[in-house]
Subunit: 170 residues, 2 copies
């Protein structure tokens, strides 16, 4: 066995177990919580991404979310049918459409963010300030490492694909 350490309570072991538990907890929240009524969690993430990217094509959004294009197509369809986003024809390329959040979409997003914030506040109520900050920075760092790992493993889908569909690119 090349197991680095015999599953003792070392940092790696703790992270391994706690991440496992965390996934379950987060799934439970997403599934059984009262959050996510007008928009589901995947849609919320898509909207947050759309907001930070600005209007982009579905292809571009899929790359940013690291999801299959077909999955994102459906997520966008859901948003559009709820009036939270619109597909705008791209005059420079008849194949692609540009996804734009509507005002309703932004409002729904903010509202959901609020509810999530309230939940999290309740969650870390009683934590000391440094503890909260430590959680935030640890999570951010973890996501950063995860993103880098995933990116290194799949050098395909070069982020340069981005420009090809940007509104004023071609």
């Amino acid at each position: 066995m090349t197991c680095p350490s015999p599953s003792g309570p070392d940092a790696i072991g703790i992270i391994e177990l706690e991440l496992l538990k965390l996934v379950r907890h987060l799934e439970t929240f997403g599934r059984r919580g009262s959050l996510y009524v007008s928009v589901d969690r995947a849609g919320y993430l898509a909207m947050r991404m759309l907001e930070s990217l600005g209007p982009v094509s579905a292809h571009c959004l899929a790359q940013a979310l690291r999801l299959d294009a077909s999955t994102v197509t459906r997520q966008i369809s859901a948003l559009v049918s709820e009036g939270l986003a619109v597909r705008k024809a791209n005059p420079a390329d008849g194949r692609s459409t540009t996804i734009v959040l509507t005002d309703e979409g932004r409002a729904a997003m903010r509202e959901l963010e609020c509810r999530r914030r309230l939940l999290i506040e309740e969650l870390v109520r009683g934590w000391d300030e440094p503890g909260q900050i430590s959680l935030g920075t640890s999570l951010a760092r973890l996501n950063d490492s995860l993103l880098r790992t995933v990116t290194e493993r799949r050098p395909a889908d070069r982020p340069a694909g981005h420009q090809a569909t940007e509104p004023g690119a071609a």
Copy 2:
């Protein structure tokens, strides 16, 4: 709006966003990773839980995992059909069965733990030691708070139900 803070980069806001991103990352790992061949992530968690609880009934395991009993039934069936666990009749109660990990189950679990550890080691390679420890303790604390929140919200399913099905209880 009663939004506690205007979505600035405060600790709560960071946690809200980073948890959102983390779910996606963890889903991606569970779904597209090369982990989880002989047993899936849900099964692995069930096995870890079984190990820490010892032999218990499906009902009891479901409560510990905070999953529906039917879901756990299927997870157990999967483990059993892979030879990783066995259902033992409970002489004290003909309705329930006691789930016991086999040696193969334990081996599969250890092997998967190893692979997960290696991934995590790679992930936090380059982090300083305090950073790794901080991540571990932050995650543990978060899980603890999450567990407490969920428990408070559902005072049903009293953990006392546990004893009723323990091997030598009745």
